[in-house]
């Protein structure tokens, strides 16, 4: 893999982490008055997959969308302003953190009804195939979403019509505080499930950015060349609470050894160390990037704070086209 791509993946992850840490730091100021689902710990998936996508490809996401949005090239200022509820936000302040969108970056929407976005993304893939456009659609969702009926129904239709879609399941083992063990039989295998529909499927380590990129690249090529859908499942771990800026490990719903094991597998640290060892990137390059990005993020927050709130007449605008 070219060192340009490797660096791009690393820097994408670092930037996403820095943005989210800033949100976490400033959230207690109570100016971001909407739920936020941080994906600190899960950055390799969005960064790896989106780096393998073309700019023209479509992306859909769920409630935990910051990473996907930024990795696909969503506008940072518009994202932070959205979380601050400002008129300059990507949804004019009407959607908040759970509804990020940037049509110019082909991010067509993120919705927090679990599983609800899966068939909508499939519809975009259906539309592009009807229009004979050579675009791939990627949809991100969690392990919880793979329990909703629309997930199976969408796999079926995707396979039936050989649609150019990549289903990306981020398995962080929890739905809010509920572990897989109370939701799925042990040994349930999404890969086998997808294959039973005739869908290309792979499971790999979601904290290994390079592995994610390779799996995504393959799936996207399959879709682009007319060979139909794929389901990729990546194991990963959310470091902070399900919703909000804090850690919630004191609640005891995740075993301490499990938290430790995954904390030691920080996707960014692993990848950075690997690239440093391989001389694919220099420490000074990383330092420079971090410095620039911190400034960029400061500016985005300033932009958000200084932006106006939407006018009151916006309340009933945009209900209909």
């Amino acid at each position: 893999m070219s060192s340009e791509i490797l660096k791009k993946i690393l820097f994408t992850m670092v930037r996403i982490r820095l943005v989210q840490e800033k949100i976490a730091e400033k959230y207690p100021e109570q100016k971001m008055r909407c739920p936020v689902h941080l994906c600190i710990g899960q950055e390799a998936i969005g960064a790896g997959v989106c780096t393998a996508m073309d700019k023209d490809d479509y992306l859909f996401s769920n409630h935990r969308s910051h990473c996907h949005y930024l990795a696909k090239g969503g506008d940072l200022n518009a994202m932070i302003a959205e979380i601050y509820g400002k008129a300059t936000g990507c949804a004019k302040g009407k959607g908040g953190s759970m509804h990020l969108v940037d049509v110019s970056a082909n991010i067509l929407g993120a919705v927090p009804i679990v599983g609800g976005v899966i068939p909508v993304a499939l519809g975009a893939a259906f539309g592009t195939s009807l229009k004979k456009e050579n675009k791939v659609t990627v949809v991100f969702f969690g392990d919880g979403a793979s329990e909703e009926g629309v997930f199976y129904e969408s796999l079926n239709f995707a396979a039936l019509k050989k649609l150019p879609i990549v289903f990306v399941c981020e398995n962080n083992f929890y739905s809010v505080y509920s572990p897989l063990s109370v939701r799925q039989p042990s040994g349930r295998d999404n890969v086998a499930l997808a294959r039973s529909f005739g869908i290309h499927s792979k499971k790999s380590d979601g904290n290994d950015a390079e592995g994610v990129y390779n799996a995504a690249k393959e799936a996207i090529e399959i879709a682009r060349s007319g060979n139909g859908p794929s389901l990729l499942e990546f194991d990963t771990y959310r470091y902070r609470e399900h919703c909000g800026p804090a850690y919630d490990d004191h609640l005891g719903y995740r075993a301490e050894c499990e938290i430790k094991e995954w904390t030691a597998k920080c996707p960014i640290e692993i990848f950075r160390n690997k690239l440093l060892t391989d001389n694919a990137v220099g420490q000074n390059e990383i330092d420079f990037f971090v410095k620039e990005t911190v400034l960029e993020i400061e500016k985005a927050f300033e932009f958000a704070e200084n932006s106006p709130f939407p006018d009151s007449d916006e309340l009933t605008k945009d209900v209909y086209a």
Partner: protein
């Protein structure tokens, strides 16, 4: 109501009703996302698993549609499930099961079977919950024959209506508003039922009837207190049950006062206010001294930004001014009538710091 010394909050009242019904009847069980987690559906299911075991107190897959059908099936063979959803928006995935099966099963099989399930769902507002996490769809369910819909306001009714709902042989949608959870009130320790289908006069008055439910009943009470200072004696009717609707209570009050303000914390078209006004005109037409007024949410989804959300939800002043209008008095501002907000409008109380 007799004097009751013990005061508990709404959430505790819900928990107590569930607990007592489970201890009385082994066929009662509770299932829902997060029922057994450390937050226990905002403290309404805490401790139940330890007491009744994981066969009767369960988490579930994120599969609202299938799980609703599963509960219907379980009820057909003698179980009495309580299924919870942390937001009514999540229940929309199960509309097929609720409307096509639960609501119809008894009728379409000639009354041979019954579907005694309770679906307890939360509605709420505030802190940027937005278009898909802050809907109030009570009238959607109140439209359907075969369903019962209750929406308590006080801790007393929260307990009494939940016990009635669990003991009822029909599917009951029990809707509790998140912003009521921390509000305390008198609740007897022993078991008691609040009858489904009966409204309650929260406050008696002779000049004007305000009909509301759930959190909006509290806004109605606030408005009534202000109106009293201006010599207007408002009666507040708290519906408690939306289906079957207590037509006698609504018509009776309107016959007495001749004036009606109907409030529903939801959109106007085909809402509870449509129904309340229709009942008043059908049954108390000749007693009406003014055209009824309806108060609802604006015809738009709930926005996340506080700047717009603060305009979205009706406040006491939005009830006070139409009341003034009906009685020939000029409108006033919040300042003039002495309403001051000590907390931001998008949180239920000062303790709330987000995110949900």
């Amino acid at each position: 109501m007799p004097d009751i010394e013990r005061h508990i909050d709404f959430a505790t009242a819900v928990l107590e009703a569930t607990d007592q019904c489970m201890s009385d009847d082994k066929s009662v069980f509770i299932i829902g996302l997060g029922v057994t987690d450390p937050k226990g559906i905002f403290n309404t299911t805490i401790g139940l698993e330890a007491k009744y075991g994981s066969d009767r107190v369960m988490d579930m897959p994120v599969s609202e549609n299938a799980m609703t059908g599963v509960m219907i099936g379980a009820s057909l063979v003698g179980m009495r499930p309580i299924l919870t959803h942390q937001r009514i928006d999540f229940m929309l995935l199960a509309l097929d099961q609720v409307i096509n099966n639960a609501a119809k099963w008894r009728y379409m099989f000639g009354g041979r079977q019954k579907v005694p399930i309770v679906i307890r769902v939360l509605v709420g507002r505030g802190w940027g919950q937005g278009a898909q996490h802050a809907q109030s769809l009570q009238s959607l369910f109140a439209h359907i024959p075969g369903l019962k819909v209750v929406m308590p306001t006080t801790p007393y009714d929260a307990k009494g209506l939940l016990i009635s709902a669990i003991r009822d042989d029909n599917p009951v949608i029990y809707i509790d508003h998140r912003w009521l959870h921390n509000i305390t009130g008198p609740v007897p320790e022993e078991r008691f039922e609040v009858p489904i289908g009966k409204a309650r006069i929260m406050r008696e008055g002779k000049d004007l009837t305000i009909v509301a439910a759930s959190y909006m009943s509290l806004e109605a009470l606030r408005a009534a207190e202000v109106l009293e200072k201006y010599g207007i004696d408002a009666e507040v009717v708290d519906l408690r049950t939306l289906r079957p609707l207590d037509e006698d209570a609504i018509a009776g009050s309107v016959k007495k006062t001749g004036r009606l303000i109907a409030i529903d914390g939801s959109w106007k078209a085909c809402s509870m206010t449509s129904e309340i006004v229709a009942i008043a005109t059908e049954h108390a037409f000749d007693k009406l001294k003014a055209a009824p007024v309806r108060i609802n949410y604006p015809e738009a989804p709930s926005p996340t930004t506080p700047a717009l959300a603060n305009l979205y939800y009706p406040k006491a002043i939005d009830i006070i001014n139409p009341a003034f209008g009906m009685l020939g008095k000029p409108s006033k501002s919040e300042e003039e009538v002495g309403i001051v907000y000590r907390n931001p409008l998008d949180v239920p109380d000062r303790t709330f710091k987000g995110p949900f």
